[in-house]
């Protein structure tokens, strides 16, 4: 694995996105800053409700128009702020330049349309290909994602494919116009482990072959360890820690990341010992805490954690975390459990 020190292809700066609901304003993303480098896989990890999917959909401009409120920030791609582009301009970016793979392949494919037509749709729309040329390219794409008998399969409907094969089709559609950025939102969560292994293998291989930049959104730290170069951990709408894979796994600096790592049962775990869960539940996004969002569940919380959001402390070129424990006046705290041996 290489490609950590590339130039940024996409920069997200202090993104704030809310939704208007009858219960009040849901502040899904509350100041997320990260960049994606050319040729790397950046994993955004977090629990449900942490804002990871909303952040990704904001890049694609896919949040519902009716109730989304962009409170601030910018998403810079090719010198332009994607948040300010008109829908018409976004059409030229969404698909040909930035493509997305969704969690559930059954709902992201149209059940009434043959698979071939769904793949050719964007080829015709964005690249202006003729029918026969698009069909040729569609066969190539299905072969690229490892679907045998591609020509036959093009004429079939999604229900004639298994879950794993459907996800391959979705990936083929995303790759159709040769995008620079691929956003994969929980691409293997709905799949069985053996199929998950196939799809992850495919994504790794495609990235190396096509040189794409990938944003992988997941809640599964296992998936991240084998596929990502860098990790951004999200909690309560904020990115609370970022770093290279090794830094996050072997030298995490924020109690939430510690808790996340300690609460997964490892295959090597001792069964007589209890797992170390994170007590409590994530904060309410309609009424987010003023300070650090993890305060209520944090065993090391201090008074200042409640009142003020900590700034980032930098540990290396890539590694930074937002936590008051790194303030010079804070007590020295050792993380409870570490994963792996090397540091």
């Amino acid at each position: 694995m290489a490609a950590v020190n590339g130039e940024a292809i996409l920069s997200v700066d202090d993104l704030r996105v809310s939704f208007a609901t009858y219960a009040g304003e849901v502040q899904a993303v509350r100041g997320a800053t990260f960049d994606l480098r050319r040729g790397e896989t950046l994993a955004i990890v977090g629990e449900s409700g942490s804002g990871k999917s909303v952040a990704a959909r904001s890049i694609m401009g896919l949040n519902p128009v009716s109730n989304t409120i962009v409170r601030g920030g910018e998403i810079v791609f090719e010198g332009e702020d994607l948040l300010k582009l008109s829908e018409k301009r976004m059409l030229d970016i969404r698909g040909p330049k930035i493509a997305m793979v969704f969690q559930d392949p059954m709902t992201s494919l149209d059940p009434t349309m043959r698979v071939g037509r769904q793949i050719m749709e964007s080829l015709k729309q964005h690249l202006g290909m003729s029918g026969s040329k698009a069909a040729e390219r569609a066969v190539e794409l299905l072969e690229l994602v490892g679907i045998p008998n591609a020509e036959e399969r093009l004429k079939q409907y999604p229900h004639q494919f298994s879950g794993g094969m459907r996800q391959r089709v979705v990936i083929a559609i995303a790759l159709a116009c040769d995008p620079q950025i691929l956003i994969a939102d929980e691409p293997t969560t709905a799949l069985d482990v053996t199929i998950q292994a196939q799809i992850l293998e495919l994504l790794r291989e495609l990235q190396e072959r096509l040189g794409m930049s990938v944003i992988l959104i997941t809640h599964d730290l296992g998936v991240v360890a084998s596929t990502a170069h860098r990790i951004a951990v999200m909690y309560g709408g904020r990115i609370i820690e970022t770093g290279t894979v090794r830094e996050i796994f072997y030298d995490p600096q924020m109690p939430y990341t510690w808790g996340l790592l300690a609460s997964i049962p490892l295959p090597t775990a001792d069964r007589s010992q209890d797992l170390i869960p994170i007590p409590g539940t994530p904060p309410d996004a309609t009424n987010p805490p003023k300070g650090c969002p993890f305060t209520d569940r944090c065993p090391y919380a201090m008074r200042i954690c409640e009142d003020e959001m900590p700034g980032y402390t930098t540990f290396s070129d890539e590694h930074r975390a937002a936590c008051w424990l790194h303030h010079q006046l804070a007590p020295n705290v050792e993380p409870p459990a570490r994963i792996g041996g090397a540091k």
Partner: protein, 333 residues
């Protein structure tokens, strides 16, 4: 139960006596003119006080097995003995008593709790059906006690399921199962719908309850790390049959069946160094249809070691070392 075995099971250890004996169990579902063979002949014993983990991919028959065991389905063949009696022949009060002794916790805590009932009534439903409380105040006391046992508070009894988070709802599901003081609980993917940090809370709770109440679990999951962590013994299912069964540590350190090996190798480990060095065995293709499973060994269509002989030679279910059973084919000496 002698004094000694009671002490052992109180520590959460299996005492070796079978609570449930499952013999050649089959469950077919009619689809059109064919039979979908969801479970096609599995034999095992679940011992008193142990946690038996059942793993496999979707469609392997693990949930169907769980449902037959708690009498939600009638089997198509074979038998299940509970305390020596066939559970699917029990009728009337005998059947009702079995329903009390065997409970289930479901995967989706949202779908398995009635949204129109308050939590107190959901938890007390079993108590009412089996007349386990003699008065209203006793009923209420038991509900409060149960809620506190699973880490909720008394006040929660008057709320509706939608007012709870996923992890809390799963606790309610556990409280409901405990309400009738069961011996055996089938937990069908109880933590799959939960976030990791919440998963650990529920797993710890289930382990604690087992220690305190001498419970026997059948723990069904597709997550091999979770299953290994909670189970004493583990069975691996593929397409309606059991391919391997062994004590948890033995199965994970010494998997014999190619499918078990592939399944273990597919699990991503949350450790970048381990992942980097790991040789992965990626299986080709998908699980075939259980309506028309492959002849001979069912795994042969995806097995990297398959030979022509696998098409007609049925693997033999054999104990290769103490407690370690495997559907033995030519790969296993």
């Amino acid at each position: 139960m002698t004094e000694q075995t009671r002490n052992e099971s109180a520590n959460g250890e299996a005492n070796g006596r079978p609570l449930l004996e499952i013999r050649d169990l089959k469950k077919y579902f009619r689809v059109g003119r064919a039979d979908l063979k969801a479970v096609d002949g599995i034999t095992l014993e679940i011992k008193e006080g142990e946690t038996f983990g059942l793993v496999g991919e979707s469609g392997c028959g693990k949930s169907t097995t769980g449902r037959v065991l708690v009498r939600l389905y009638q089997p198509s063949g074979g038998e299940v003995l509970f305390g020596g009696k066939n559970i699917h022949e029990a009728k009337g009060s005998e059947g009702k008593d079995l329903n009390r002794k065997m409970q289930m916790v479901f995967q989706d805590p949202q779908a398995s709790l009635n949204p129109r009932m308050v939590v107190g009534d959901i938890v007390a439903e079993g108590i009412d059906i089996h007349n386990l409380a003699s008065s209203n105040s006793e009923r209420l006391d038991r509900v409060h006690e149960l809620l506190e046992t699973v880490g909720l508070s008394k006040e929660h009894a008057n709320r509706y399921p939608h007012e709870f988070s996923g992890g809390q709802r799963q606790r309610i599901g556990v409280a409901r199962a405990l309400a009738v003081d069961p011996d055996f609980i089938v937990a069908d993917e109880p933590v799959s719908a939960l976030d990791v940090s919440i998963q650990a809370q529920v797993i710890n709770l289930m382990k604690k309850l087992q220690r305190e109440r001498d419970l026997t679990y059948l723990f069904i999951s597709h997550d091999l790390s979770v299953v290994k962590y909670i189970s004493d013994r583990v069975g691996v299912m593929y397409l309606g049959v059991m391919v391997e069964m062994a004590p948890s540590d033995e199965l994970y350190s010494n998997p014999l069946h190619p499918y078990t090996q592939a399944l273990l190798s597919a699990v991503p480990v949350p450790d970048p160094d381990v992942e980097l060095e790991r040789e992965r065995m990626v299986l080709e293709g998908d699980v075939p249809s259980p309506v028309n499973p492959p002849s001979g060994c069912r795994f042969r269509t995806r097995c990297p070691y398959a030979t022509e002989a696998c098409g007609h030679d049925e693997p033999v279910w054999r104990e290769v070392s103490p407690e370690h059973w495997v559907a033995a084919c030519h790969c296993i000496s």
